[in-house]
């Protein structure tokens, strides 16, 4: 089987344009992957439609990530990489967040449970909020990490604080205070968690997981 000549547009794009009209701002084909840009406020509708519509069936969320470009004028992008297991098809959906505006999109945790930790990682590294996420807190850096969001372009490679201050803060941390109640039994460290996290854990706010 020979590779198809030229860029091949995913048939999902005309279907999306017919369904959502101007909410699909533009699309592109790069390395035979189709990229669709959608408006921020409609991103959840578009993704839900892509998951549930017969003929689309994007039932697997490969990845959620974000991109910040070197050009300070360019907005941040949130990227959802979708996969349809029955159709063996891929689609990349992006939405742009102006740096001046609120860095927040709707969470897709209610569509794909796998978005839980992926969205937490994007929040941890870029500071992008996900409205509707059940437990949005840092996942790679520790709970009390105070230097900001490491993958943003305005974040210095060595961090904001001096090495001595970083070392002091790291040594002051309680190693057990990084995990939620479901992940480890941390009754001893409960009092050292931030107040809002204590409240969330005490309420058992993880939906059906509790």
């Amino acid at each position: 089987m020979t590779a198809p000549a030229g860029p091949v547009l995913s048939p999902s794009v005309p279907a999306l344009r017919a369904e959502f009209g101007a909410a699909v701002t533009r699309h592109a084909v790069s390395c035979s992957d189709t990229i669709v840009y959608v408006e921020r406020d409609r991103s959840h509708d578009v993704l839900a439609w892509l998951r549930d519509t017969p003929g689309q069936q994007f039932d697997y969320l490969t990845d959620v990530t974000a991109v910040e470009y070197r050009d300070p004028e360019r907005p941040l992008e949130v990227v959802w990489q979708l996969r349809s297991l029955p159709r063996k098809a891929d689609l990349r959906v992006k939405t742009e967040l102006a740096k001046a505006g609120p860095l927040e999109v709707r969470s897709v945790w209610d569509l794909w449970r796998g978005a839980d930790w992926l969205e937490r990682e994007v929040y941890d590294m870029f500071g992008i909020g996900f409205a509707g996420h059940p437990d949005l807190r840092r996942i790679l850096m520790w709970e009390t990490y105070a230097e900001g969001y490491p993958l943003r372009k305005d974040f210095p490679l060595r961090g904001h604080f001096s090495r001595a201050e970083q070392t002091r803060q790291a040594l002051a941390a309680n190693p057990e205070a990084h995990y939620s109640m479901e992940e480890l039994s941390i009754a001893d460290a409960f009092d050292e968690l931030p107040a809002d996290m204590r409240e969330r854990l005490a309420r058992g706010e993880r939906g059906f997981l509790k």
Binding site: R163, Q166, Q169, A170, L171
Partner: protein, 209 residues
């Protein structure tokens, strides 16, 4: 004769002095016996975080076999360990963990910093990585390499054994380790900054600020 030697003054790291019986025939023979026993029954506490841990495993396995040097038992409990071997890079998130393991190890204890990352941060001169574990715990032997071959680690272990053979029970400053209270640092902050300074090629890299 040797038993009547006068007391000797030793100087501590912080400048204060401590007087102690000077070495004589009995203490030096006792030192030799103790050091011989200690250096030939070092139980390692492996703290493997990265590729150095693979080389450490190769060192422990049959071809290189550190059991030949008295390290028969891998002590995965710090309570029964003598030497902490940090094999691999140490992120700040793990700094309190290795500090706690070090505190749990009973004296006498030693540590080996295995590889470039554990010794200096290596190529990871960034926001998340400790720039040398000697800012967290005292280190006896640094093994260079990325990662060091088993021969390199064995050479480091032999150096540590040599160091132990030179220890003396009469030296009360030997295991002085004071925390710069109450921050948890065991070195003054300016010393940590100095140890963490970029060096080599790292100085030339472009930074966002």
């Amino acid at each position: 004769m040797g038993l009547t030697n006068p007391a000797t003054e030793y100087t501590r790291v912080d400048g204060s002095t401590v007087s102690s019986v000077s070495p004589n025939w009995v203490t030096t023979r006792l030192d030799f016996l103790t050091n011989w026993a200690r250096s030939n029954s070092l139980w390692p506490m492996p703290f493997g975080t990265a590729c150095c841990a693979i080389e450490y495993m190769a060192t422990a396995a049959s071809r290189f076999d550190i059991a030949r040097f008295g390290m028969e038992r891998q002590s995965f409990s710090p309570r029964q360990a003598d030497v902490l071997i940090c094999a691999g890079r140490l992120p700040f998130k793990l700094a309190p963990v290795i500090r706690r393991i070090w505190d749990q190890m009973p004296q006498p204890k030693w540590s080996i910093s295995m590889g470039a990352c554990a010794s200096s941060g290596g190529i990871f001169d960034n926001y998340s990585m400790v720039q040398g574990i000697d800012t967290i715990i005292p280190v006896d032997v640094y093994v260079p390499g990325c990662p060091p071959r088993p021969e390199g680690l064995i050479y480091g272990i032999r150096l540590l054994q040599k160091k132990i053979m030179g220890e003396s029970l009469a030296d009360e400053t030997l295991r002085d380790e004071k925390l710069v209270a109450p921050s948890g640092l065991f070195l003054p902050p300016e010393r940590v900054d100095e140890l963490s300074e970029p060096f080599g090629n790292s100085v030339q890299q472009t930074r966002s600020t």
